[in-house]
Symmetry: C2
Subunit: 122 residues, 2 copies
């Protein structure tokens, strides 16, 4: 299946990141501010390498694990998943805390992870 | 980006599901049994519809929310994400609890979500 970006991580510094959603998808953010935490799926677009076993955090001193037991980018489908805190919504721009993505990473999906009323969804 | 299945949900009944990973990716499961919970990314392959606003759980009595504030399948990229409990690993077959996927759903990624030693990874 072909997947395409719905937005992009446009800045990531000081623990805060901004996710800019493409204008044609902005209406899909309606009422997202009711979420305290969101799951962001984005692409590891700096590598196309795939390995079945990896050293966690790329450190050869860490014993090998299978790629599906790791968060390594070197996976068959180069999709990253991270739960972040949603701190602001301004039009098509989300400000989040706890994002580990590199600047410019293509975002492919956003889902609610925890509502502000504390119902945990993920 | 093109994504391809790494396995499939082969049965889902009585609260337990089996995920069969393709043989060429089995080594990627090495040490996955150290995870108590895993994040499974799979495809909503029964729909190609996309909407920006949806009624949660498809029930028109539920007020509309944006698709990114929902878990609806009618999203631009038809990827589902669910955290499930890993109860057994036998070769290339994982037995999990709490999977909401339909039988036959293509699985595109598996990531650790919580280790058995209680360190939360997601």
């Amino acid at each position: 299946m072909e997947i395409a970006p719905i937005g992009r991580v446009v800045s990531n510094e000081g623990g805060r990141a901004e996710i800019e959603v493409l204008p044609q998808y902005q209406d899909g953010l309606y009422r997202i501010e009711e979420s305290d935490e969101i799951l962001v799926l984005y692409l590891f677009d700096r590598t196309d390498e795939v390995r079945m076993r990896v050293h966690p955090r790329g450190d050869p001193r860490n014993p090998e694990v299978g790629v599906f037991a790791s968060r390594s980018p070197m996976r068959p489908n180069h999709i990253a998943a991270t739960v972040v805190k949603l701190v602001a919504v301004n039009g098509n721009v989300l400000t989040v805390e706890g994002m580990d993505a590199l600047d410019g990473s293509p975002v492919v999906d956003i889902k609610p992870a925890k509502r502000r009323d504390e119902a945990k969804l993920l």
